[in-house]
Amino acid sequence: MISAALLKSVITYRGFIFGSVKREFQVKYGNAILGAAWTILNPLALILVYTVIFSEVMHSRLPGVTSTFAYSIYLCAGILTWGLFAEITGRSQNIFLDNANLIKKISFPRIALPLIVVLSACLNFAIIFGLFLGFLIISGNFPGWIMITLLPVLVIQILLAIGLGIILGVLNVFFRDVGQFFTIFLQFWFWFTPIVYPASILPPGVREALAWNPMAAIIGAYQTVLVNGTAPDWVSLARVAVISLLLCIFGLRLFRKRSGEMVDEL
């Protein structure tokens, strides 16, 4: 079926995929004096800004949590994981356009391109999340074994991002408005997801609308585990998982149906 042939070509080109991920990493940091430190500095600055503004200036504290670091941890749990989502979707939407020359001139499995994006984003995420975990352990806020429950959450999140990313990537080849639109849409999406603020401060009507935001359930799961140390809400996650799978299937079908036409359009 679809997946068998796809999987085979991916395995054949695994060297190319891993090599590209490695190369991307080197390109990004190889010529910078601080190197990979920039991976951390960027979100660190963001977290610092939010912590100062929201926690110190606006004196917002998380309801029911007293730890000094609680808000910072809450912020990190949201911003770092949102960053992974934003990187995958944001880069996949341009993945075919950016590699137009390669696609037109060389015969290779195109599905390798979004995979490179995902792996590359995961690598960046692993570095920064690893540091975050280190901070949790040192500051004595490590939630313990409950952390394991974050793995399925991460898988669901990546599936959601890649499904959406492939759809956007294909559509963007034919309708360039899609990329522009999604960049703006992502801004609204970020603020409509309880990342810098807790969901509890929203009016009840808006809070109900959050049920329609799959990222709210995912980010919420990270926050529950990392801040409260309790298991995430599996019911809402299951719903997101179904949405993610459907998006992936739709994305792959769209990709297969339009990949021939896509080459002509590039």
Binding site: G15, F16, G19, L102, K104, K105, F175, S259, G260, V263
Partner: protein, 407 residues
Amino acid sequence: MMGHIQVRNLGKAFKQYPTRWSRLLEWMLPTMGKRHQLKWVLQDINFEIAPGEAVGLIGINGAGKSTLLKLVTGTTQPSTGTVAISGRVAALLELGMGFHPDFTGRQNVMMAGQLIGLTVEELATLMPSIEAFAEIGDYIDQPVRVYSSGMQMRLAFSIATARRPDVLIVDEAMSVGDAYFQHKSFERIRDFRRHGTTLLLVSHDKQAIQSVCDRAILLDGGRLSREGRPEEIMDYYNALIAERENHSLLTREVGGKVQTVSGTLEATVADIVLLDSENQPVEVVDVGAAVTLQVTVEAHAPIPRMVLGYMIKDRVGQTIYGTNTHLKDLALDNVVAGQKVTYRFAFPLNIGPGSYSVATAIVSTDTHLVNNYEWRDLALVFTVVNMRRPHFEGSAWLDPVIDIRTP
């Protein structure tokens, strides 16, 4: 058997939508019918290439050559028909694709090699030979951005041809690099051929097509217009270029070969003959003999400026020598209709043994692209034999005076 190419009913059309919204509407409402028009760039292409065969693909710009190559290599999907290829395919479509300027030559070899389907282990074993063939020395460990374009090309060619493919597809890549590397890369392609690689070559370069290919295919307006021996197709192609402005083009068989005549035919070659030193017509000539090529041209219309040119070609159609009366400052002005002009070109036939042909062109300037009154291939065929000289190789008679000194 590996290296077999079969192309059946191949066609390629691009979708053209009247506005940007039309595509969206068509996608949104698939039941409402098609909103695009198809622009066919290739239609009804059928051919087969046997394992080990070398085929040249010829056609003017826009004839669909590049599209056809992309279909054969699989980067583009056909609208109709199929392409079946057996064996490993290597394509030299655009050299240096996938190179990253900030990485060293060695790192780029690994990446570009993986992109064409080689594994890391294979590349590790091939690396020394890639390095050696590219001849870029210590630069292999420098970033590619400091390479000259020639060095990039050499490295790219070395990667693409690091392992002998079953099918090699070349798109005018050979015209890059210096003369030395061109020879070297061409030699590698010839070597692949000796080992059974099937070759599909696109080129405007007559020499390349005729010296390597067994067969040529001419594409014209997205269709397969002619298929046959390279020199015959090349002659037809040249005539086709000249024929652009509604000129007549006819072909006929001369001694098993196809003679092509094209042009406006306002002036034609009425008679052409090769004469020996006693003014007797000859067909077999000794190496170095003094001969005269006598061409009688008849004007059928007033010709403001008339130039006669001729080319002597060898067996496979490569030009050995060619000149015209424009280059010799002997163009005739205001030739009236009905006038007959006899040209006599006297020269020693300093060429090697073999079969040769003469092609003539009656034009107004240096090239047949401005006014082509008549272009005639295979106007005359003659044979050169070596009767009196010691044996020598090659198509030119460059007899040396030898001076050997032993101290």
